[in-house]
């Protein structure tokens, strides 16, 4: 404990008396923090944009068409499959989900959105946070992601117009916004939800599809009676229903087109930024220790132990890293205020927390060599007595 107080005394005094120099080091750490946090936030934002709807589903399993490789867009299920799924023992409920993209044109700037067909009250239909759920059948009603409402100033009760290519013709459909849901981005686009029958009519479709008015779901969200029995239930579903394959939510997310590649890219960027951070911080502290060789020699010659010298270096690195990460965090927050909402930055994710923890670790990690060097300095050589 005595060593700790002595080391803290030396470390803090040096930082205070040489605050200009240490502030420069802290600013470098702050810039690395800024970069790492933005990459983390971008990763979280991109991941959210891609997976949010699937991740927030009130379901444990997703049913796909067999051999669709768990790709939502490649999967088209028979209409009666959802009824078959509901009959399987251990299934609490199941809801068909229909996906497509469209464009809201009744705005000064047209806005691309994901248009999802979902059954009210069933898995796949998120909880409404304002207004009400749409009626069933062919009701021309929509529930909208709150992000869309915020970005477009659309309110509950407004009527929006969407454009849909039907065969070779563009057609326009009016939908009344009856409710709002939250955090339901899918495939990088905000979402609107419509009843399945309406979805079948207004979704963009090819000439050959126009002859059919039966909606074929892409996937089915399955809520289990026992949420922990995913493997057993997955096998049971495949056994009892033909022509399907089943995945849990995580597998479904990882098979969203581009999701894994994109996350891998972002994580690689983050990793290399941290690696560069370790090298830069390590270099700074190593140069500093080299400059302090005579000073460390004096400390040891007058009776400071290696413990005090080493601990002092560790405390100093931790303090400077914390200051740097603090400044970096503040800068990141300030910069984030100026970014447009179209850039997918999310700072409240676990990634930001992990990034901050990693940043706090890279200082001591980077300074490890300099700490070892400091401990090994021989006072005799440092003072040029030998």
């Amino acid at each position: 404990m005595k060593n700790f107080f002595l080391a803290s005394y030396l470390a803090i005094k040096e930082v205070i008396r040489n605050r200009g120099r240490f502030l420069l080091v802290a600013l470098v750490i702050a810039l690395i923090t800024l970069l790492v946090l933005f990459i983390a936030a971008l990763g979280e934002g991109l991941a959210n944009g891609n997976r949010q709807y699937v991740a927030n589903l009130d379901a444990q399993l997703i049913v796909f068409l067999e051999k669709s490789d768990f790709s939502i867009s490649s999967s088209r299920l028979e209409t009666n499959t959802v009824k078959s799924v509901r009959r399987v023992d251990g299934v609490a409920d199941a809801g068909a989900i229909y996906t497509s993209s469209t464009e809201i044109v009744s705005l000064p700037e047209p806005l691309k959105v994901s248009m999802l067909g979902a059954e009210p009250g069933r898995p796949g239909m998120p909880p409404v946070i304002a207004g009400r759920e749409f009626r069933g059948g062919e009701a021309r009603e929509a529930v909208m992601d709150r992000n869309v409402a915020l970005r477009t100033d659309i309110e509950i009760g407004d009527v929006i117009q969407i454009r849909s290519t039907q065969g070779t013709e563009d057609e326009f459909f009016d939908l009344e916004v009856v409710g709002l849901v939250e955090g339901q981005s899918y495939f990088f686009q905000p979402t609107i939800f419509v009843p399945p029958a309406t979805w079948e009519i207004i979704r963009p479709q090819s000439q050959s599809e126009l002859t059919s008015d039966t909606p074929y779901p892409n996937i089915i969200a399955v809520k289990l009676a026992d949420p922990l029995q995913t493997e057993t239930m997955s096998a049971r579903l495949v056994d009892e229903i033909s022509n399907i394959e089943v995945a849990n939510i995580e597998t479904t997310i990882n098979n969203i087109p581009g999701y894994s590649a994109q996350q891998g890219t972002v994580q690689t960027q983050g990793f290399f930024t941290l690696l560069i951070g370790i090298l830069v911080i390590g270099g700074f502290f190593q140069i500093q220790i080299l400059q302090k060789v005579p000073q460390i020699g004096v400390l040891k010659a007058i009776g400071s132990s290696n413990g005090v010298v080493g601990l002092s270096a560790v405390i100093q690195i931790i303090v400077v890293t914390m200051i740097g990460v603090g400044i970096g965090g503040g800068l990141t927050y300030l910069f984030s205020l100026g970014f447009p909402p179209t850039i997918p930055l999310v700072f409240n994710g676990s990634r930001s927390l992990i990034a901050v923890i990693l940043l706090l670790v890279i200082g001591p990690l980077g300074g490890m060599v300099s700490i070892i060097y400091a401990v090994r300095i021989e006072p005799l050589k440092a003072l040029r007595l030998g």
Binding site: K300, A301, I302, G303, S305, P379, L385, G386
Partner: protein, 242 residues
């Protein structure tokens, strides 16, 4: 008769150089009593700095014994030597003496902190010692804000504040002009005598010998002559003896 604070018995320190063994310190024996101020003089390469490094427990001798306050350095491990340096030895160096980010007062008090003896009374003693060395108006100055002489005086205060058995000074006047060098060594000598410490100063400047009680002259690692007679020491300091 005062206590023997430092005793050196048949001390040898050998180095290998190009396959040959060189005795930097060769069969040296002497004693220093508490309250006695001794100069270690000799030309470059005579072994005086090696001797000082051994006395400071920074270098291990090849053979022989060094006893500081009765404790044999040869029987100590590194941890015990660090403790000995902290508690029993005061040290001033030629340069880079002070911790650059601590003020004059903090540099002196640091020695007390190291020994876990910093309290109100010791703080007052530290300020008094600095005042005695003419540094009352420099208590809050950092080393970079002080002259070389002032820095040396702070180092002297630091070397004495914890009441060590032995105070070692390696060329403390090397970077000072004659007037400042005289002031520093005279003050040092006075404090050694007043506080009853054993002091050893390594110097190439024989004029500084006028303030010491005894001069040990080294050459080629050997102790070749000891001056104890006041008259002889004065003549040595004046340059009458070579």
């Amino acid at each position: 008769m005062s206590n023997i604070a430092l005793e050196v018995r048949d001390l040898v320190k050998s180095f290998s150089l190009d396959g040959a063994t060189i005795n930097a310190v060769d069969q040296v024996s002497f004693q220093v009593r508490s309250g006695e101020f001794v100069a270690l003089v000799g030309p470059s390469g005579s072994g005086k700095t090696t001797m000082l490094s051994i006395l400071a427990a920074l270098l291990t001798p090849t053979s022989g014994q060094v006893l500081i306050d009765g404790q044999d350095l040869a029987r100590m491990n590194e941890k015990q030597r660090v403790k000995l340096r902290r508690e029993k030895i005061g040290f001033t160096f030629q340069s880079n003496n002070l911790i650059p980010f601590l003020s004059a007062r903090e540099n002196v008090e640091f020695m007390l902190r190291l020994n876990g003896r910093l309290d109100h009374a010791s703080r007052i003693r530290s300020d008094e010692l600095l005042a005695r060395l003419g540094l009352s108006d420099r208590l809050h100055n950092l080393p970079a804000q002080m002259s070389g002489g002032q820095q040396q005086r702070v180092a002297i205060a630091r070397a004495l504040i914890h009441n060590p058995a032995v105070v070692l000074a390696d060329e403390p006047t090397a970077s000072l002009d004659t007037e400042r060098a005289n002031q520093v060594v005279e003050t040092f000598a006075n404090l050694i005598h007043e506080n009853g410490r054993a002091g050893i100063i390594v110097t190439h400047d024989l004029r500084m010998c006028q303030y010491v009680d005894r001069v040990l002259q080294m050459q080629d690692g050997k102790l070749v002559r000891t001056y104890e007679n006041k008259k002889e020491i004065r003549e040595l300091a004046r340059g009458s003896i070579h």
